[in-house]
């Protein structure tokens, strides 16, 4: 751990240490081949901090997220939540501490239940019922800007962006201290993507949650995270403050990743446009 890390991370919301995941896949009837998806990954997320994990497909970034929230069991290594080993957590405790938002808002919601019921799912798991349940659903719907009129509708009536807001409201229902976002805007149109990112950024600050933000998109990560972990082939390639890593990467792979992002020329601002229009005529 560097000096800077010590300074910005006095206490961990989430810490993964020497995390490793090996998938065994059958090659033939008698032979299995081991695929090391995540290899010796260590990082920490401070309370109220957003840490981004970036990488290309097959880098292991999503597997790390799944292990962190308990959807996948690590082959070795430990995950600690606020200083306690996550294996000591009951499911209830875990769902109170940590929630997740997925990439595809079309498959992550239950279409047979109303939007309100979808949002209340983690509350139902906690045994919150009656007026407390109603109140909390209304609260988080407002936080995530889900219109109250939508609560009695089916997710089927909503657009992709609205569905992702519902998924965000659901994730907030139990007031988690840690929010894991796995490519939360990758399936959305660019204008909707901007709205959802803005919403996540504001919520994270307002509720001072720790956020683990998984993405393949460096430009998205730049504005939302304070620190970044670059992964490749299951390993951490580089880690550090987001601005520093993106401005002066110390690893070749990070540089290659940055150089590959297509360059969109800057938009001329409106004032400049009017200025030049005067001269043109």
């Amino acid at each position: 751990m560097t000096e800077r890390d010590k300074h910005t991370a006095p206490r961990h919301a989430l810490a993964v240490t020497n995390l490793r995941k090996v998938f065994e896949r059958p090659v033939s009837l008698f032979r299995r081949e081991a695929l090391v998806a995540v290899d010796d990954v260590t990082f920490t997320v401070a309370p109220a901090e957003t840490l981004a994990v970036v990488g290309e497909s097959g880098s292991g970034k999503s597997t790390v997220a799944k292990m962190a929230i308990g959807l996948s069991t690590p082959s070795s290594g430990t995950i600690s939540i606020e200083g306690r080993d996550s294996r000591e957590f009951s499911r209830r405790e875990l769902s109170r501490a940590m929630q997740m938002i997925f990439q595809d808002p079309y498959s992550s919601l239950n279409e047979r239940r109303t939007v309100g019921d979808n949002i209340a799912m983690p509350l139902d798991a906690q045994g919150v019922a009656g007026s407390a349940r109603r109140r909390r659903v209304a609260e988080v719907a407002e936080l995530a800007r889900v219109p109250s009129i939508a609560l009695t509708r089916s997710p089927r009536d909503l657009s992709g962006g609205q569905r992702q807001r519902v998924a965000i409201a659901r994730a907030l229902a139990t007031q988690p201290r840690i929010l894991i976002c796995d490519e939360p805007t990758s399936a959305l149109d660019v204008s909707i993507q901007a709205e959802i990112l803005e919403l996540l950024r504001n919520l994270q600050a307002e509720l001072s949650m720790a956020m683990l933000f998984i993405s393949h998109d460096l430009a998205v990560v730049q504005d939302i995270s304070s620190r970044i972990v670059v992964m490749r082939h299951g390993r951490v390639v580089e880690t550090g403050a987001t601005d520093e890593v993106l401005r002066s990467p110390s690893e070749d792979y990070t540089r290659k990743l940055l150089d590959s992002v297509p360059h969109l020329p800057a938009l001329q601002d409106l004032a400049a446009k009017h200025g030049s229009a005067d001269q043109e005529v």
Binding site: E56, S57, G160, D189, V190, S191, Q193, A194, L197, H216, D217, L218, A219, V220, Q222, D223, L246, R247, S248, K256, L257, L258, D259, S260, V261, P262, H263, L264, P265, A266, L267, Q268, K273
Partner: protein, 276 residues
């Protein structure tokens, strides 16, 4: 390189596409005109539901069922694509117009060797025999930078990586030496490093053959890299069109400006950033 005074290779006029009951149809594409000159790369950009893919698919008669083209003409090499019978269209497709789709795995046949998929149309369209087809396939795989092309020919699609499959798709689209290439979100599903390689490859192939390309994409960064001209669509209608740099840096329409502004931009050491 565009020859500006040349007559267009593709000239679409008054395209209207509808769906739903004939009595009460829903209009999906409103009166679109579109031209592509020889050697020009035209990008059609827009968000989902903008009609960019429907417009493009109408050219090769691949509209989804229940979606109808009710007006328009599409002049291409002296014929109207919209007036072609099925057999004639089959011939134009892959012979004169090559197509690259977003997901190479769904457009390559998983049970056929690369060799068969590359040579099938070439032989069927009477371009030559098996020997010539194989020579050309090897040559093209080489051109799209697939290492050891001879060995690849006997492999199946699942044995190749995503980037390799997209290269095979490009080689396949070029087999019959088409004059127009349609690339529908051709780089969208690829990782960013692979996307760059495929974009560079497309640019190289385009300039070498002065191929015309219709590049359909929602990725404005990729569009900025490859297109000469951009056409912005929104809800089935044309918003604006013009030279790529002009449209992307100095849009005339508010919608285009919002679209361009919404794209998250990477600020790196090489690029100056205006601090607020």
């Amino acid at each position: 390189m565009i020859t500006s005074d040349a007559s267009p290779l593709l000239d679409v006029r008054g395209l209207v596409i509808e769906t739903g009951p004939v009595a009460r149809p829903t209009r999906l594409v409103h009166d679109i005109d579109l031209t592509v000159r020889p050697g020009e790369v035209l990008a059609i950009v827009g968000e989902s539901g903008s009609g960019k893919t429907l417009t493009t698919m109408s050219l090769i008669d691949l509209l989804p069922s229940g979606v109808r083209r009710i007006a328009g003409s599409a002049g291409f090499e002296g014929q109207d694509l919209y007036a072609l019978k099925r057999v004639a269209m089959d011939r134009v497709r892959s012979d004169r117009i090559g197509i690259i789709f977003q997901d190479p795995m769904s457009s390559l046949n998983p049970s056929l060797r690369i060799e068969t998929q590359l040579t099938e149309a070439f032989i069927a369209h009477g371009k030559g025999g098996r020997r010539q087809a194989l020579d050309r396939a090897t040559h093209l795989l080489n051109e799209v930078a697939i290492p050891n092309p001879k060995a690849r020919l006997s492999q199946y699609p699942h044995e190749l990586s995503g980037g390799m499959r997209q290269r095979v798709m490009i080689a396949m689209a070029l087999m019959c030496e088409p004059s127009l290439l349609i690339a529908d979100e051709a780089t969208t599903a690829l990782d960013v490093t692979v996307q760059k390689q495929v974009l560079d490859l497309l640019k190289e192939i385009q300039s070498k053959r002065s191929l015309s390309i219709v590049f359909v994409s929602h990725n404005l960064g990729a569009v900025a890299e490859i297109a000469d001209t951009v056409m912005v669509m929104h809800r089935g209608a044309l918003v604006e069109r013009g030279p790529t740099l002009e449209v992307l840096t100095n849009p005339r329409e508010a919608y285009t400006r919002r679209l361009v502004e919404a794209v998250p931009r990477l600020r790196t050491a090489g690029q100056a950033r205006s601090q607020p």
